[in-house]
């Protein structure tokens, strides 16, 4: 198994290299704007543009810029390890900006994932067991509603209701957990729930359909014939097998969310990775865009690896080779 993990980690490195190379070409070779001109001011002299180009490292051949970028990632730059350069916009190290924001995004993504798992999976299980019942139909109708509702609308509605009208939410913004646990929690609950409702609906529908399919399998019938109690048949044999695709999904979803839940972050003024990435694209802050790309690529590929490892525990048929 360890050999498998090492091999997969090497794949992770390769994937990150390919993705960053693509990003580099897209943003540095084919940009719609010249960052040096953009950041040289309203009425720049050619010398000023050249100076900004030099300071941004854009005066070197593109391949050299990319090699330097890779070298800095692995060996660090003047701002430490990993070397992600400095932001064209804030003129500060990208690493600091990234690490400042990543905790916000992790808070949001992990918290929301816990919430949607706690809501989505039980609802899916109950719906599958009580298939065709009022509970099943009601749950699926709700799930359809939340799947269809845009997250920005849900966010704004939640803010309007719980903050403006009822006054039970502290509103938008982020309080670091190190500053105040209760402040952090109270500011995160609404974004967690809003983001989770969308995913919970997906997960409920998926769990339901998987479980319905699983419960029709021969080995379930065998388990029943053996005289196992129904709850054991459902939980031990049915749910466990039906959750395998859910694990795949959560790996991908969590990985993607670590790259930023842009809309949720924007609506709730959580200064996380996603919002930063979008702003950076619009502002032409190429080092920041690259840094986020690296993080997203790493997050998705590593989460995939974790999912594959977890498979072994959920499905005994899976073997690593």
């Amino acid at each position: 198994m360890w050999r498998y993990i090492v091999r997969r980690l090497l794949w992770v490195v390769l994937v990150v290299l390919i993705i960053t190379a693509f990003t580099f070409v897209i943003f540095f070779v084919m940009p719609p704007t010249d960052p040096a001109v953009q950041f040289a001011g309203k009425n720049p002299t050619p010398e000023q543009i050249a100076e900004v180009r030099r300071q941004f490292g854009l005066d070197k051949p593109v391949w050299q810029q990319y090699v330097l970028f890779l070298k800095n990632i692995f060996t660090g730059d003047e701002y430490g390890w990993p070397g992600l350069g400095f932001s064209f916009v804030t003129r500060s190290p990208v690493k600091d900006l990234l690490f400042d924001r990543i905790w916000v995004t992790i808070s949001l993504a992990v918290g929301a994932a816990l919430v949607w798992l706690c809501i989505g999976i039980p609802i899916g299980i109950v719906s599958a067991i009580k298939r065709g019942s009022l509970l099943d139909r009601g749950s699926m109708l709700l799930a359809l509603f939340f799947v269809s509702a845009p997250v920005f609308w849900l966010g704004l509605m939640a803010l309007w209701l719980f903050w403006y009208k009822l006054g039970i939410s502290p509103g938008t913004g982020y309080v670091p957990i190190t500053q105040s646990f209760t402040g952090w929690l109270s500011h995160m609950i609404l974004p967690w729930v809003v983001l989770a409702l969308l995913y919970a609906a997906f997960y409920a529908r998926m769990t339901r359909s998987n479980l319905i399919e699983t419960m029709g399998q021969d080995y379930i019938r065998t388990a029943r014939v053996k005289g196992l109690p129904e709850w054991k048949v459902i939980l031990k044999h049915g749910v466990r097998a039906s959750l395998t695709p859910v694990v795949t999904l959560i790996g991908l979803d969590l990985g993607a969310l670590l790259g930023g839940a842009v809309i949720t972050e924007t609506v709730f003024n959580l200064q996380g990775i996603g919002q930063w990435a979008v702003n950076s694209v619009f502002q032409g802050d190429l080092p920041a865009v690259l840094a986020v790309t690296v993080i997203v690529a790493l997050a998705v590929t590593l989460m995939n690896l974790i999912v594959d490892v977890v498979y072994a525990y959920l499905d005994p048929r899976v073997r690593y080779t």
């Binding site: 719609p32 704007t33 010249d34 001109v37 953009q38 950041f39 040289a40 001011g41 309203k42 009425n43 720049p44 002299t45 050619p46 010398e47 000023q48 543009i49 100076e51 900004v52 300071q55 916009v89 804030t90 003129r91 500060s92 900006l97 400042d100 704004l156 803010l159 403006y164 509103g171 938008t172 913004g173 972050e265 924007t266 609506v267 709730f268 003024n269 200064q271 919002q275 930063w276 702003n279 619009f282 502002q283 032409g284």
Partner: protein, 624 residues
């Protein structure tokens, strides 16, 4: 200076909403400063604001920063030799001594300026020392340092002896600046420069302590270490460890992506300052990416106002139609001209009659409506905003008049008939040169809303354009790259850097301003075959492209205010009638909404943003 509002106008097709606002406001501008609330203004409290993004152009380092909202912040942090009163309208464009004891008369035929400094002005903690002439000289040395990329250094390069922007280090003295003692500084100029005093009011020239700034040798680096000489300081500035460069850590009160907090500078002496009132005890600007949230907070009183963002049109409409809230809308002149550029080097705009026809046919009223109606601004009829020309030239001068500014097709066709592109003399542009022209535009409102108005107007005289919509920065860099040879563009606007017409004339119309990339002389005035070769383009055969360099230089040498302005007024008229570089269509207004907690609203005409030193609030909050 760059205006954030330029990039942020979110009028999003709700012209109707803004038209209602305009009707409700009925021209009740704040100009002149203050309103009936002024009587209740008291000192104390915290001005609580938020912005979706600071958008600084150079990390808030005063040497290179070029953003209007940064200029308003510097008004509270940095003192210059001369400054403004940070109020609205023409009085806000008058210069007063700030660090200087008096405004001197130039000597040696306008080539020498000597200032005496006030003795009791001190830097904030941890420096706690008096501001000296060497701190001013050091600011100029920074401007002159190439790696610091001073974004408006052109106002000093070639003007002050020894300044060319090519110094390798800020420790290199400028030969044209002398500091015989701590209270005296002398500037020697290479040529008479009538607006030199205005240039000394720019934030980059404010006092900068070398012991701190010498540690920050890259463009933008000093932005998080700004040591105050003004009434406020960045919160936590007193904790800055100046024992060594390694010991310096960014001041806690400013994080470009999160917030900026200012508290009173304990070393500030109000008796030394006749330009600021400093009502509030603190200034708080948080970054909040949710624009609606910002304005909900303004509405509910959690914030006093937004910092630089424009209100959503729906909110503006609600305020304008609510009798109790109308006086919370503040409207002031933006001193910025918005215009359609036409490239002299591309057909059919190499014919002045075509350019005149375009001016004559344009439905400017329709464009203003698409922009947001009368509250958003007024129809521009010439190049420089009236405030910049001290009111000597206003919208009453209109060389291309039409009924209701809707455009005059018949008159436009008369112009077109005189052009070489109207071969059959029917008043319509003929042939391939008149169709398929690329017109650059921005991809957001109100530019997208104006686009059909412009396309339709041009079509009346046979000019058929294909709009290419780009993000704001991409649109600018596209038209600023001369080789792209963009015939016509709708995205451009220009705001004053300081209240003198030179800050329009020189960068926009002189041959010197013609550069391959970053070019702002969009019409290519002054282009000749040598310059065309330098720029890597073909000079249009037979085109007589006007050159106004001599006019600009003549006006620039005049120091006396009135004749100087008159000279630039004549230049403006000459441009509109003999060069026709643009179709100016709008002088925009700045619209701000405040909460009733703001007991005194003021507008800073220099920065064209709210005036943070002249606003008062009723809250009793503190920044600890």
């Amino acid at each position: 200076m760059m205006g954030k509002r330029r990039q942020r106008l979110r009028l999003v097709g709700l012209a109707l909403a803004l038209a209602l606002v305009a009707a409700a406001c009925g021209g009740g501008d704040d100009e002149g400063g203050g309103d009936q609330q002024e009587v209740t203004a008291e000192k104390g409290g915290v001005l609580r604001t938020a912005t979706t993004d600071f958008g600084f152009t150079n990390g808030f380092d005063p040497t290179g920063e070029y953003l209007g909202s940064a200029f308003t912040l510097y008004g509270a942090l940095i003192r210059t030799l001369v400054s403004y009163k940070h109020i609205a309208g023409p009085p806000g464009n008058e210069l007063f001594p700030d660090l200087a004891t008096a405004i001197p008369e130039p000597a040696d035929g306008g080539l020498t300026y000597t200032f005496k400094l006030k003795p009791n002005v001190k830097f904030a903690p941890p420096l706690d020392r008096a501001v000296t002439s060497k701190d001013i000289a050091y600011a100029f040395q920074r401007i002159n340092t190439q790696p610091l990329a001073a974004q408006y250094g052109v106002y000093y390069f070639g003007v002050i002896e020894g300044m060319d922007g090519k110094a390798k280090s800020a420790s290199e003295a400028v030969s044209g600046i002398e500091t015989p003692d701590d209270q005296t500084i002398t500037f020697r100029l290479t040529k008479p420069t009538g607006d030199f005093l205005y240039r000394l009011a720019m934030p980059a020239t404010g006092a900068i302590p070398e012991e701190v700034a010498k540690c920050h040798t890259k463009a933008g680096d000093y932005g998080r270490y700004v040591v105050s000489s003004g009434p406020y300081m960045l919160q936590g500035s007193d904790q800055l460890d100046v024992s060594s460069c390694d010991a310096q850590k960014p001041i806690s009160g400013f994080d470009p992506s999160k917030n900026m907090y200012m508290v009173r500078n304990p070393n500030y002496d109000q008796a030394t300052d006749e330009t600021r009132t400093n009502y509030v005890d603190g200034i708080k600007i948080d970054v909040n990416t949710n624009l609606d949230d910002i304005f909900n907070k303004v509405d509910t009183g959690a914030l006093d106002t937004s910092f630089t963002d424009d209100a959503p049109p729906t909110l503006l409409q609600r305020y304008s139609t609510d009798q109790a809230k109308r006086n919370l809308i503040h409207v002031n002149d933006g001193d910025r001209t918005w215009y359609i550029t036409m490239n002299w080097a591309t057909p059919p705009f190499d014919d002045i009659n075509v350019r005149k026809a375009v001016n004559q046919v344009m439905d400017k009223a329709g464009m203003l409506q698409a922009w947001g109606g009368n509250i958003a601004g007024e129809v521009a009829t010439h190049i420089m905003p009236p405030n910049v020309l001290n009111g000597q030239l206003t919208a009453e001068y209109n060389p291309y008049p039409s009924e209701g500014n809707r455009g005059d097709e018949a008159k436009a066709k008369e112009f077109m008939k005189q052009s070489k592109y109207d071969t059959n003399k029917d008043g319509v542009c003929d042939g391939g040169d008149c169709s398929g022209l690329v017109m650059i535009n921005r991809n957001v409102a109100p530019w997208t809303a104006m686009e059909p108005v412009v396309v339709e107007s041009l079509a009346k005289i046979g000019i058929k354009v294909t709009a290419r919509e780009l993000a704001s920065s991409a649109a600018y860099t596209t038209i600023q790259t001369v080789k792209n040879m963009i015939p016509i563009a709708l995205n451009a606007g220009w705001g004053k850097d300081y209240p003198d017409p030179y800050s329009f004339a020189a960068p926009l119309f002189t041959k010197e301003a013609l550069i391959p990339t970053g070019n702002t002389n969009y019409a290519l005035l002054g282009l000749d075959s040598a310059k065309a070769e330098e720029l890597g383009i073909d000079a249009p055969a037979g085109a007589q492209i006007p050159n106004v360099d001599a006019d600009v230089n003549r006006c620039q040498e005049i120091a006396e205010a009135e004749p100087r302005t008159t000279c630039f007024v004549d230049l403006d008229k000459k441009l509109m009638e003999q060069a026709v570089p643009w179709v100016p269509y709008l002088w925009n207004k700045v619209v701000v909404i405040t909460n009733p907690s703001v007991t005194k609203y003021e507008f800073d005409q220099f920065s064209t943003e709210m005036s943070i030193t002249e606003m008062a609030v009723s809250n009793k909050e503190t920044l600890s």
